[in-house]
């Protein structure tokens, strides 16, 4: 018998700022001065304020089911802050942090979660995809967008964010596999918050890391501390840069924890211990970065108060506008279906609007 090694792989895990806010070594260029991290911090604070408000609105019957990103803010902010404006974001339903950074407004988010399609007609990032509620369905879209960039020889990349549960779906694998031979400028970011509703990460797959799923596609994969916004941004920035330069796709697994219920429709106490959740508050991304900034002398109690107040104002203003926004007219159901409405559906539209006797 001859047995030889055909291939070898390893997966790394990276962190820059530990759970207590201590740097584990030199920080990357973009974080060289602690002050440079303040926008990231403020964005995480805004996200948390937004999430809290959205949950409150849902509890009082003024918003639909909502998926909080409590404790996971660093994933989206780290990733989005690594993007260039011309890159395209394809978010799952729990990445409001990334969307807010990209310029989607809190009002748009509220409209969407309040059940109004206008919330996906972003005034800001016009090419970004709407939220993907179907798990992993947006992964091949990210490959398609990346293929468009590659074909046009544009130095742009697509960034797809999805969950640990999403890595079990065929769409996810098919998309990263296609990205391989075509060297697509795509970054697949797995927000591993340890849970897919009630199914823990360990029941989702026997893979020791989710990053290693990249190996199946022949693309690089790495793990980062997803509660460390610096580590997330650094890994995603490197991956995006390589993608834009023709170096192909990367899978980044960001390890975090879902501190909230799955959504407002969920009661996580049915399936997980409060104790584990409580323990996971240690090292959560906002407290962690605040500790770092404070230790660096870049953040004061006053700064904190301002940040909280600014976030509250932004969210309150958005809420007011949201609550004051009348629903779309019924015609809107029809008017965006096709570029031009076919005659048969024109007739239905008229019927729906009561302008004409129905005939079906």
């Amino acid at each position: 018998m001859t047995t030889e090694t055909a291939a070898q792989f390893s997966i790394t895990f990276t962190r820059y700022i530990d759970a207590d806010g201590h740097p584990t070594g030199a920080l990357p260029e973009f974080a060289a001065r602690a002050a440079d991290l303040i926008p990231l911090y403020r964005a995480m604070v805004l996200t948390r304020a937004f999430d809290a408000k959205a949950v409150a609105l849902q509890r009082t019957g003024r918003l639909g089911t909502f998926a909080s990103s409590l404790g996971q803010e660093a994933v989206g902010i780290g990733a989005a802050s690594a993007m260039a404006p011309g890159d395209v974001l394809l978010p799952s339903f729990r990445e409001q942090s990334a969307q807010l950074w990209r310029g989607v407004t809190p009002l748009e988010l509220l409209l969407y979660w309040g059940g109004d399609e206008r919330g996906s007609d972003f005034a800001g990032p016009r090419e970004d995809f709407p939220i993907s509620v179907p798990v992993a369905a947006h992964a091949p879209h990210a490959a398609g967008v990346a293929l468009a960039f590659a074909l046009r020889k544009e130095k742009r990349a697509s960034l797809c964010i999805l969950g640990d549960g999403a890595t079990s779906k065929g769409d996810f694998y098919e998309a990263i596999n296609m990205a391989g031979p075509w060297r697509l400028p795509m970054v697949m970011l797995v927000n591993n918050n340890q849970w897919a509703i009630s199914v823990p990460r360990s029941a989702q797959t026997a893979a020791a890391t989710l990053a290693q799923k990249a190996i199946a596609a022949g693309i690089p994969g790495e793990q980062v501390d997803g509660n460390d916004v610096v580590a997330v941004r650094d890994a995603v920035a490197r991956a995006l840069a390589r993608a834009r330069e023709g170096g192909g796709a990367t899978l980044v697994e960001a390890i975090t924890y879902r501190l909230s219920d799955h959504t407002t429709a969920d009661d996580a106490r049915r399936y997980r211990d409060d104790a584990a959740v409580t323990a996971s508050w240690h090292g959560e991304p906002i407290a962690r970065l605040r500790a770092y900034l404070v230790a660096q002398g870049a953040w004061s109690r006053e700064d904190e108060e301002h940040a909280l107040a600014d976030a509250a104002t932004a969210v309150d203003e958005a809420t007011e506008s949201y609550l004051a926004t009348p629903p779309q007219p019924l015609a809107a159901i029809f008017d965006h279906l096709f570029a031009e409405l076919p005659p048969s559906i024109r007739a239905q539209r008229a019927q729906a609007l009561g302008q004409e006797a129905p005939d079906a």
Binding site: G64, G165, K169, A196, T205, D266, Y271, L330, Q348, A360
Partner: protein, 326 residues
């Protein structure tokens, strides 16, 4: 005989089937500890253990696909898809595999599986959670498609679906999960899978439909009665195979028919019923067949969904149109 909600009737039928037949398994996303996002499988894990109630990874196509493998090995898997909006990736397995295994092997292997899922809108759920995609499953020979609209029918038909030796797609009206309540005897008695249910007799017009809209049909029938017109109300319940005989017989008596469903009009399953009326049923018709359905548009997000979903008023308008005809 306690009054229970439709979702509890589902739960009761699952437990009954698991008790009487050790080959019945329940699997799907969050069906175990969580008891299913609608609690349809609540308590089953505790009662029957993790070898009978399996939380799966998040992969609908494989949920259907492993069910085919289990069924070929004489288990009776009852797989839950969390919402119909996520069931479309199972169609390949259901059509090319589950529905054909018996035919392909001349009966050597078979596929006694049930694919359950909530369907339809009206609960202000997020995007992709309010689908009525039954038509994607009704042109698939070898597959049964069942869609009860009351706790008792949910109980009896689910038992029948699980006991059936062939694959069944079992749709549950989300809107009625909690809203529909009824006395249900947990007597293990299945209802027939090849029969419509006449919920109310009437000689002036036939209202036919399935799923949540059946309640609106009954309400419309009340209103029509107040106007002096007796509507017969038929819950199709089993779409495929269709109990054409009962439907044709009813319309033969009434001469008028309103077909109601939440799914879009064009090529919705209502078309099949109307087509049979245009064919063998033609001579019975005293008025054009009316279809009251969702519009041929994408199901809107919650703010407009109740304007999309047809309700009592549209059914009444159609019925009156029909009654006024000729």
């Amino acid at each position: 005989m306690p009054e229970i909600a439709l979702v509890e009737a589902i739960n009761l039928a699952l437990a009954r089937a698991m008790t009487e037949d050790a080959s019945v398994l329940v699997l799907g996303e969050d069906v175990g500890r969580d008891g299913g996002v609608f609690r349809a499988t609540d308590g089953l894990l505790t009662r029957f253990g993790p070898e009978r109630v399996l939380d799966t990874p998040l992969a609908e196509a494989a949920i259907a696909g492993i069910s085919v493998g289990l069924a070929a090995q004489r288990f009776r898997p009852v797989a839950e898809i969390q919402f119909m909006g996520f069931a479309y990736s199972t169609i390949d397995q259901m059509l090319n595999q589950a529905a054909r295994l018996r035919t392909r092997t001349r009966g050597r292997l078979s596929c006694p599986m049930v694919l359950r899922m909530p369907a339809g809108g009206g609960v202000h759920a997020p995007e992709h959670h309010s689908e009525s995609g039954e038509a994607c499953f009704t042109n698939i020979p070898g597959l049964r498609v069942v869609y009860p609209s009351s706790p008792r029918r949910a109980y009896g038909l689910l038992l029948a679906a699980i006991r059936d030796p062939d694959p069944v797609v079992f749709l549950e009206p989300t809107r009625l999960y909690r809203a529909a309540r009824e006395d249900v005897a947990d007597d293990g008695v299945a209802l027939p899978l090849d029969r419509c249910f006449t919920l109310r007799e009437g000689s002036d017009i036939t209202l036919i439909g399935w799923g949540a809209i059946v309640r609106d049909m009954l309400a419309a029938a009340d209103r029509l009665a107040a106007e002096g017109k007796q509507a017969e109300v038929i819950d199709v319940a089993t779409l495929v195979p269709l109990d054409s005989a009962s439907i044709l017989a009813s319309v033969a008596r009434t001469g008028r028919c309103v077909i109601c469903h939440e799914a879009p009009l064009t090529a919705g399953f209502g078309a099949e019923i109307a087509a049979q009326l245009a064919g063998p049923g033609l001579l019975s018709l005293l008025a054009p067949v009316e279809r009251v359905t969702g519009w041929d548009t994408v199901m809107p997000l919650p703010r407009l969904e109740m304007q999309y979903i047809p309700g009592v008023e549209r059914i009444l308008a159609a019925a009156r149109r029909s009654l006024q005809h000729g």
